[in-house]
Subunit: 227 residues, 4 copies
């Protein structure tokens, strides 16, 4: 599958919009990054130095899985191996977001496992925790994160952030928002009691019903309206 010039522009704009929306929602801070698969051996990603809150398509470059620039002039983020190693091992993944979300990260800081406490939270399934707060800036660490992710949709990085994967940028954005919304509700419930954790059957129902392009797009449009 080769991306056409028109595809390229659309994907760059989607990535820029996704990261801008996450910055506005304070799920991405000054140093989060997002990517979209370009082909079997390369991906688009926002440059390391770009300003997340005002990102445009011009801030998106493309690199191959070894980090060599194949489109654009600016350098990719130092953590590009996080993206590369997941794309290498997960051909089904076409978009990845690396966020620094407040509530999801607080859970990892105290060792509390992510639990499904609201409907959208079920779409993430089990969310493992990568047990190191260090930056994912080597191929070896990228491989370890990819291994921790396994076949799942997301992995939390202890006291650091989150990695969310999906079949496209819109879905990936929605899942990134759902992950943090669920964590927010879990965290606040934990302060005053024990939150109700959805049963396996309930989670299954929501995974079947809420994982639709229409609902992902609606979530996207909702956040876009806040820009």
């Amino acid at each position: 599958m080769e991306v056409t010039p028109a595809d390229t522009l659309e994907i760059k704009q989607q990535l820029a919009d996704a990261i801008r929306m996450l910055a506005r929602a304070e799920i991405v801070d000054h140093s989060g990054h997002g990517s979209a698969r370009r082909d079997g051996n390369s991906f688009f990603v926002n440059s390391g130095a770009s300003t997340r809150g005002t990102l445009t398509a011009d801030d998106i470059v493309a690199v191959d899985l070894d980090g060599r620039l194949v489109d654009g002039a600016a350098r990719p983020p130092l953590e590009f191996p996080l993206h590369a190693e997941i794309y290498r091992t997960r051909p089904d993944v076409h978009a990845i977001l690396h966020t620094h979300p407040r509530w999801s990260t607080v859970l990892t800081s105290v060792g509390a496992p992510y639990q499904v406490v609201c409907a959208q939270g079920a779409l993430l399934g089990d969310v493992p925790v990568f047990d190191s707060p260090l930056s994912v800036n080597t191929r070896e660490m990228g491989q370890q994160v990819a291994a921790a992710l396994g076949r799942g949709s997301a992995v939390l990085l202890k006291s650091h952030g989150a990695v969310i994967t999906a079949a496209n940028v819109v879905e990936c954005f929605a899942l990134a928002a759902y992950l943090e919304e669920n964590a927010l509700r879990q965290y606040h419930a934990m302060q005053v009691g024990t939150p109700y954790v959805f049963s396996a059957a309930e989670q299954q129902i929501f995974r079947e019903r809420l994982a639709t392009p229409g609902l992902f797009k609606k979530t996207w449009d909702h956040y876009f309206s806040k820009l």
Copy 2:
């Protein structure tokens, strides 16, 4: 009672404004919905796919109590039975809002009953909890929610959201805001002690004095000024 074209336009605009204001206040997220009775057998409701934060009167359709479109072209929300079954059993209800409020929902997540801890909170009276987090997307579930609501003004849906009913859209909006404001105060008080719960006599006084069209309109105007 038949609604005239002028009524129709006003009601559509009121619904759109109510949902926009609740989205701004983060009481409605990407998927809340609101309705207003059209006649004995139909109601207005925002379309399922509409963007809540930028809703206009054009996003409001009308469906009969079985979900068949009678005005507009877009599909109603999948949870339309929630509205339909309440309108069927409660002829006094002319407006319904289904919100996803943070603090009210956290209370249901930990099994803490809603308690009246501020003046406006008294207007909701007792607020039962519907004991399922699943979407209310069948007639049977709609009937169960309507039964849980009974003769009351509001019902909470466990780990999911809230349903607020009233004689008109403005009052319904005000009650939706009051419910969450009371829950916010209850939640935060619970973190540092035991909140003072208003006595039955105090609650009665506030129900008599604060349930006026003028105060509901003032609440509406206050939130409208924040748009």
Copy 3:
């Protein structure tokens, strides 16, 4: 002391600005009110129906201490006796704000006394609590609140709100902001430990140094810049 027409306009504008700033800071909700003494027997106050977030000088009326309109056409708030009875017993008071602040009120909800935990908080001194959540809408209740206030600067109303008094509107605004800022810090400290309470000597130093027109005006300008 008679107020001139120019004074009148300035005071009305100050009141409108003070309430708008407190609404923006969510210290005043849809129903807070503020007043300024007009002469020995009357005061300016925002009308009961006015929209707090968009208040203008035209929303300010004047009433005598029995609530009879002496300037303007709109009705004063139902709680005007709160203002009237304080003006009657405290000739030194020239401005009163009645707010509905979140954190100060949560403290009263759980019975935790206001404690001075930051510099500006010392300017309020001891803050008594009026032990009723009911509206202050009769002369008798106004007298009780005035008695609870005594010679102090502020009194909290249990599970309801706050009343702040001062020699002028600018100072009154600053104290209203300081009260809630101190309560916010006290509340959040209480969640993770026992906050350090300023010693009597420390409080005295801050009362002497921070109670200056220049600092009150700077606080006013700071909030004004957020409008």
Copy 4:
């Protein structure tokens, strides 16, 4: 090292921007202040009366280490000795910010030591607490704060605020933001468990990798985009 007129204008603008950004982030309130070294015996600082949220280069004056005006007409903050005594004892320091951050200060209020719980937090190193809530408005107190700071980057003032020092204004701003971000995460983690504290080795890695002009500038640009 003498600063040229062009340097002067740039430094004044940087100081004004840094304080405006911190005011927007609610890390500086109506009375925080910031300074930049001018030469061995003087520094730039925002005037005491200036409005922090709308600061411009015109609000920046220069004073010598004894507080005498050497540029501009407005008075420096009463706490200028805080700046002067640090500049006197730390020739490596070229910028100082005095903030009133919510979460960092709550930690001092309950006696909880600052702990490194996120990557950027490591850049502050150990953060001592100056054990007095009083204003730093005498040479003696300035000396005591300078002594508490020692060779470090930051010192917290009990129940009062923070002092952050750096080699330039951009770095100083970034450290001020990191300090509060780390405190926010520490505070929220403490509410539901025991936060993971970074090991000495992990802290060392982040101090080596994250203390770069590029990352400080990226943090600056991120906050600037929110103005």
